[in-house]
Amino acid sequence: MVRKITVVLAALMLLSVGVIHAQDEETRTVGFVPPALTSPFHVAMVDGAQARADELGWELIVQAPASEGDFQAFVTTVEQLLETGVEAISINPIGTDSAVTAVQSANDRGVPILAHNFITPFSDTSLDVASYIGYDQWGGAEALAAHTCELIASKTGEDVEATSGEVYVLLGIDSIFSRRRTGGFEAGLANTCPNVEVVGQQSAEWLRTRGQEVAGIALQQSPEIDVFYGNSDEMAIGAALAATDLGLTINEDFFAVGIDGNEPTLDLLEAGEFSATLGVDPFRMGVTVIDTMAAIFEGEDVPQIILTPSTVVTPDNLESYLAGELWTDPVAGFPECDNGEPTVPEDPDAEPPMTCDEEMMEEDMDEDMSEEDMEASDEG
Amino acid sequence: MTQATAPLLEMRNITKRFPGVLAVDNVSFEVMPGEVHALVGENGAGKSTLMKILSGVYQPDGGEIIFNGQPVTFNNPRQAQSAGITTIHQELNQIPMLSVTENIFLGSEIMRGPFINWGEMHRQAREQLAKLRLEVNPRVWVGTLGVGKQQMVEVAKALHHRSDIIIMDEPTAALSLNEIEDLFGIIRELRDNGVSVVYISHHLNEAFEVCDRITVLRDGQHIATRPVAELNMDDLINLMVGRALEEQMPKAQAERGDEVLRVAGLNQAGKLKDINFSAYAGEILGVAGLVGAGRTELLRALFGADPVDSGTIYINGQQVAINNPRDAIRNGMALLTEDRKSQGLVLGLSTRENISMSVLDTLTNGPIIDRGKERVLANNYVASIDIRISDLEQLVKNLSGGNQQKVVLSKWMATEPRILMFDEPTRGIDVGAKAEIYKLMNDLVAQGVVIIMVSSELPEVLNMSDRVMVIHDGTIAGILNREAATQESIMELATGSSAAQVPEAVEQAVKID
């Protein structure tokens, strides 16, 4: 009995020491809200954030809606986390404007709010987002396209610039994500191997099953397809399976490339059953989010847009990618706008605006002339 | 009486055809202001059809309706109701989870702007209920009231619509004696206030008690309209059936054999109390009683369709366990339910498939049903009991009531039952088919089958039964021999009014130790 009490007391003392110690280290409670935890990408990002938070001795609260696309649940989740008294929060909105209520709530409470895997500023400039952290989808897709050109050239035996070939694009459900990834890829093809032609594109709804179905049909229409490019790896994997089932050999008769670099993809890449993916290292992106929060707590200025690196991962550099050797430090970057233009301007001296407002206004011009007029008169 | 004045309502030469049936054949019918007019006739005589024409449910194929001196056409019940003709249906048309007030005002809510004026509605509802001396809080759900009070609420609703004519279809079917008395009081009061009532009832004595005139229909035709003072019960029955009862329903005498079924101490909470009786090979045991007395519940309990709380069933002296219909069928029982369409038949299946339903296990080769055997079985019954169909694949939903009943009967005869229970065997069946069903019942008892027959039609009970078991309030009020069973003795037992006065006629239920 006496011994038991001693043990309990000892445990209590240890605990209190722990608490004091942690306070010295400035224990922080922060929130992290993915759009859902239904994809390995977001799971990996949470893992990264959790690992960094553990190192710092912070408490990381992760909450997510049950399914992506449930925008209302997303807002509710953010507001509930704010209610629990988190000191900073990072969110990954996917329906741009649906998240503004959540951002407003954070602003109202004076809680720093960050956006991760998302570098398209909200159109409402009165909102204060501490930092947008993510990779450049356009630029990444462009780099992947350049690699694709090399793959095609290796098959045809021609020069990269001169080679011709056929590419089929599997689109995600229509959104800024699918548009950026498609636009960047097409731009990359045009720059690197202008004779390569996009022979068709169809939505495969981000799904492997649909990618398989659509690719099967595509091969009936265009039997000479050299490359299947998926806005996500999953769709490209489906296409690779469909082509393989029709008797074609991957990396000889055709190639399959996509974006995300999740574990199932890397596994297939290692087995020689996939051609290339755009690795964006979600784990380290998660680490970056926590590091940025720490900088904000320290009172440092952080860039409005933080670009994390992306790398074309092939069987050759897979080891280095997994080891993190291809990771480069995040840099201050530019916003990604839904404008069919590269995220990082080609002219390195250019100073692009830090919001997407102007572009958005141009798109809205036809339907809303009066606002444009007002804006113009303001400027004048 | 108001004989001198002009009729409030005249239906002239009304004719209504349904596919294959002339439901109403050139019938004329009139109602005087402030008159209670009984409309009587057997099932299928055309009473309901005639009243549904009056209330706008059906449109007549011929004839005209003069109401308040004007020719009128009602395309739907709403039009009839707003003209002043309201029907109180046998099965109550109320919404149980709405309040009394809401039910009374359903479809004619009092509004204040876009909002319901609850205060005014409750006030008027209370007023209406008070007129009927009905002590009911207008705010309670109708479903929480007893059936009798629900019926009164229905009357209140009719009064609220300022009806000139209220059609009451079997209004006393579910009422207790006291409630019936109250209803009669209200009917008289309505009459004194100039409201006319068309009173449809199987209980002929009620017609004599509360009505001024009686119109008799038979087989869709108008037979007679007479003041009650000029009629007696025998005349009326003669008018209704058109021939002596014995002719219509021949009862073959079969030898009463051994005890086949013995029921001891059967109880079912709220439904059946201490049921004890026996039934013998070769007899038809009629079961009489008011609606809601527990007759159908008794058959269902015996058949294992509903669970019972206690009780023992012996068949041929052996105690049997019947927990579900399968057990009952295995023990040679069969039940022809009152509701053929939802409980007796699978309407979407063919005649063949319905007939073979309970004996499929005898018609299989391994797991596969032998269509040939199935057809032979079905054809056998189609021929032997004369089911009129175009072919075996005809869906039963397209058959007439009589043929449907024969299909159900075939299904059960295929199981070769020893105990055949009928619940309202001839409801909704035309006269010709009725006689055939009776003949089949006679044939079956001649083969030693026990038939237990629940029926609301007393003539049927009286003529077909060897003994009549009368159920009152979930208990056996008495069992009458054929000689002792009369309309009066049955009704006395059924209403629980004077069981003590007929002891010598009652063969007491067999007691089991």
Partner: protein
């Protein structure tokens, strides 16, 4: 044309004897196949690539898994129930099977030592059957609403699949039975029958025998269409039939789950996406009403093919996928409308059909 006397006869009762009604019945039963034939013909003309043996092979391959799911759904809807858990079962069975084969629930493939594929498949099918039976037991013994029970299990099964995989598919190799299940049977020059479709055809044939020629099937028809109480009172063990119905649906969904998993080489929680809605639509398009009691298994197969042809046809014709939903919806509504007309349950539609001349 139908002459006047015959028309009168059909109006006065003996419906099934009238040539008009007989024609209507035949047309009604063949309806889904007529629609299917029409659509194939349209696509045949408009999309030359569709005519190749390979693309027809793809058509039947794509129809296989959803066809098997729809077969299970047909049993359930035939009794007047509905199974909303089928797509979750497809995913769940695939994930379970993949985890067993890979010996790991971590995305990234065969890390630990797994069990043989054939055993894993058997376990997955057994789980499908057992979970289906359990749902059936809840629905009958506890009198729970099938809509709610199967909706609940949809969430449970999807949730388990998600938790088990962390959202990432489990990659597997096509070995042993999985290799067999994804193979093709060459029949002639360029013509191959995909094995999943053979499996589907076998399931349809067996289902046809069960539904049309066994007691169990007869009872299935009897219970639907409002005949449940009549069936019970006829001595049919309704509960047992209904429990097995959900068991069959679970089993068939699990079979489809294994086929999808083998084909995608991945057990992922998205494998069954959209299958519930499509299976219900296929059943209804195929002529089995949601109230059950009539229709049949071959109609469902036609329904599946109608949906598949529309879906593939729109890819061939390069219809933007956002617009494909609209077309599918229109076809479902038209199919049900045809059924309503066929049944003659809407008076004003019936009048026009029965009295074309007057």
């Amino acid at each position: 044309m139908v002459d006047a006397t015959q028309d009168t006869r059909s109006a006065t009762g003996n419906q099934s004897a009238s040539p008009l009604a007989t024609a209507g019945r035949i047309l009604g039963n063949a309806g889904p196949y007529l629609i299917l034939g029409l659509m194939v013909a349209i696509l045949w003309v408009l999309a030359p690539p569709f005519r190749s043996p390979t693309s027809l092979g793809l058509l039947v391959l794509e129809a296989a898994a959803i066809g098997i799911v729809s077969a299970g759904q047909t049993y359930v809807i035939m009794t007047g129930g509905i199974d909303l858990s089928v797509e979750a079962m497809v995913s769940f069975a695939g994930v379970l099977c993949a985890i067993l084969i890979a010996g790991s629930n971590v995305a990234g493939g065969q890390i630990a030592e797994g069990i043989p594929a054939s055993l894993a498949v058997l376990i997955a099918l057994g789980a499908g059957l057992a979970i289906g039976l359990f749902q059936g037991a809840l629905i009958t013994w506890l009198r729970m609403n099938p809509l709610i029970v199967t909706l609940g299990f949809r969430s449970i099964l999807l949730g388990v699949a998600l938790v088990a995989t962390n959202g990432a598919g489990i990659n597997i190799q096509r070995e042993g039975v999985l290799d067999f299940l994804t193979s093709n049977i060459p029949i002639a020059d360029g013509w191959r029958i995909p094995m999943p479709f053979v499996v589907a055809l076998v399931i349809y044939a067996v289902s046809w025998v069960i539904l049309r020629h066994t007691r169990f099937g007869r009872y299935t028809y009897a219970i639907g269409g409002g005949g449940e109480e009549a069936s019970r009172l006829s001595g049919i063990n309704v509960n047992s039939v209904k429990i097995w119905i959900y068991g069959i649906s679970g089993l068939l969904s699990a079979i489809a789950g294994v086929l999808v998993m083998a084909r995608l080489r991945s057990g992922a929680y998205q494998n069954g996406t959209n299958m519930t809605l499509i299976s219900v639509a296929a059943v209804v398009i195929g002529g089995t009403p949601l109230t059950g009691g009539k229709g049949g298994i071959w109609g469902t197969l036609a329904g599946v093919f109608i949906i598949r042809v529309v879906s593939q046809g729109m890819v061939y014709l390069r219809v933007p996928s956002n617009a494909q939903e609209i077309v599918l919806g229109v076809i479902i509504v038209i199919a049900v409308l045809l059924d309503v007309i066929r049944q003659g349950e809407v008076p004003w539609l019936r009048l026009r059909l029965r009295q074309p001349a007057s």
